[in-house]
Amino acid sequence: MALSAARIGRRRAQNALFVGFCFLVTTLALTALALILYSLLIQGVGGLNLRLFTMSTPAAGTPGGLINAIVGSIMMCTLAMAMALAVGVMAGTWLAEYAGESRYGSVVRFLNDVLLSAPSILVGLFVYEILVAPFKGFSGFAGAVALALLAVPVITRTTEDVLKLQPTSLRESAIALGTPFWHVVRTVLWRAASSGIITGALLAFARISGETAPLLFTALNNQFFSWNMAKPMANLPVVIFQFALTPYSDLNQLAWAGALIIAASVLAVTIIARFVSRDPKPS
């Protein structure tokens, strides 16, 4: 009896240690992450003003904003998303509807999962090799292609997953009406899965909008406002990177403001994505 009481005591102590550890590290982790968001907010809000959205990136010591970088980022991300949606939705459809359990299907599925977490800087190097070096120039197009390559795996994956969730009876009833299968896919399955596909697209958008590494060697940067995607193009992440590493406090301030804009939009997009996926529209 004494032995078992001692044993229970020891187990209780071990458990207290475990529970205490979990509480401690959770507090620690949440504090660290809160600190990061706090300094982002404090430093970033200090730099928020109208100039940010009306003027282009300045040289040190002169007033300026981030409009060229914001527009550049939006243009490249939009083009990237257009390309990624076309490829990703089709590829996801193939994996879910046509590939079945085929060997090629499982290879593509597996490599897509690897690509999903591949280092983004390597995608940048790849696009540099195929689009920048041969055409002898950095360009917004190259940046958009690099971003698209990072978005495609996310969209493919979510498209495949949500299509597989659609009941077989849905496909069968559409086919029973005499609909060609590709019509079934487009008019029944895609529509039924639309909220899931939109969620995937939003998550992919959130992911690429903050990516810096792949843009360093593709879109580079541009100090001036430009609509021309065939030339180097300003973008928020690279501007933040370059301005943060300068010794000038006004440029650092702009970098913080840019980081706040990116983080806030990523959070907003992620939250919208959660709402879309939580509340599927009846179709």
Binding site: V89, A118, I121, I130, T179, W182, F241, I262, L267
Partner: protein, 322 residues
């Protein structure tokens, strides 16, 4: 699954009922197939492009490229041992720091958290996993580094007895950047991702399994360590390796704070470099052999991360896809 049934069905009624647009069926199928093949081509393309671009450097320096420490653009001699070791050390340290914390957070959320807080904290962790890494990098540079230098590096160096292992470990310039600082920032960056993945995995454990363990009188700690964690161990290892894959290839969170020196790091506070930070810093100014050496570095990173990620995916294959 349904595909087989559908294509096995008699096509005749379909043709009878409506032929409108059915001629495009093979076109649509082919387009989908090509989109899927594009993915394959992209990954293969990355490998081929890196191999071609890096070939001059690989041909010139051979295996010595991996073991040589000299990285000297002036003499045009490149050895990648410094960045490679830097990558491995920072990722390993980051994993060492992040793993217990991520585990603790996941266990807390699944077993201990009051239900009212479960959802907000869980959501917060998932949202933080999506914050771009450049934010972590900037925070590391402007906020963390000065604090780290003042509160950790200088006291640790002052307290270290001369000529001990301790003093060797804390060698370096106490300016807040270096191997250890970069590892900590990396750890903070992969933490939400790992915690969210582990939490998701632990939720896949059937309620009966957990409840029967509690019913036998097991404590919370015993339930987690002896029942639920072993239940998902394959997936958990996979999740950890996904985190490792992120740490290995991370560029922005590291470049800001590692100090960017190509030498072999002498101590934890010493400046170092990783493969990704070296490429990010030098690629745009590089040409000729240096550029080729940087691309060869990229190839090394590709091979390391591919192996880690492939293993992770194989381990995660039978789990719910994460």
């Amino acid at each position: 699954m349904s595909t087989a049934e559908i294509s096995a069905a008699d096509p005749a009624p379909r043709r009878l009922a409506s032929a409108r647009g059915s001629g495009l069926e093979p076109v649509f199928h082919a387009a989908c197939f090509m989109a899927a093949t594009t993915l394959l081509a992209a990954l293969g393309g990355v490998l081929v492009a890196l191999a071609i671009g890096g070939w001059p450097a690989i041909a010139k320096f051979g295996v010595g490229f991996l073991t040589n420490v000299t990285w000297d653009p002036v003499q045009d001699v490149y050895g990648a041992a410094g960045p490679i070791v830097g990558t491995l050390i920072t990722s390993a340290l980051a994993l060492l720091f992040a793993l217990p914390v991520a585990g603790g957070v996941a266990f807390f959320l699944v077993e201990l958290c009051p239900p009212a807080l479960r959802r907000p904290i869980g959501t917060a962790v998932e949202l933080l996993a999506g914050i771009p890494s450049i934010v972590y990098g900037m925070w590391g540079l402007f906020v963390f580094a000065p604090m780290f230098a003042k509160w950790v590096e200088i006291p640790a160096m002052a307290a270290a007895p001369a000529d001990s292992i301790w003093s060797t470990l804390v060698q370096g310039i106490p300016n807040g950047s270096g191997i250890l600082a970069a590892s900590i920032i990396l750890a903070i960056m992969i933490l939400p991702f790992m915690a969210a993945t582990l939490r998701e995995l632990l939720h896949t454990v059937p309620a009966q399994v957990r409840e029967s363990a509690y019913g036998l009188g097991a404590t919370t700690g015993e339930v987690v360590m002896k029942v639920t964690l072993p239940y998902v161990r394959r997936g958990a290892i996979g999740a950890v390796m996904l985190g490792l894959g992120r740490a290995l290839g991370e560029t922005m969170a590291v470049t800001f704070i590692i100090g960017n020196s190509h030498d072999f790091p002498k101590g934890l506070f010493d400046a170092g470099s990783t493969i990704a930070s070296t490429i990010a810093n030098e690629f745009n100014e590089a040409s000729g052999m240096q550029q080729s050496a940087l691309i060869a570095l990229g190839l090394v990173l590709f091979l390391i991360t591919f192996i880690v990620l492939a293993l992770a995916r194989l381990l995660l294959r039978n789990q719910a896809r994460l």
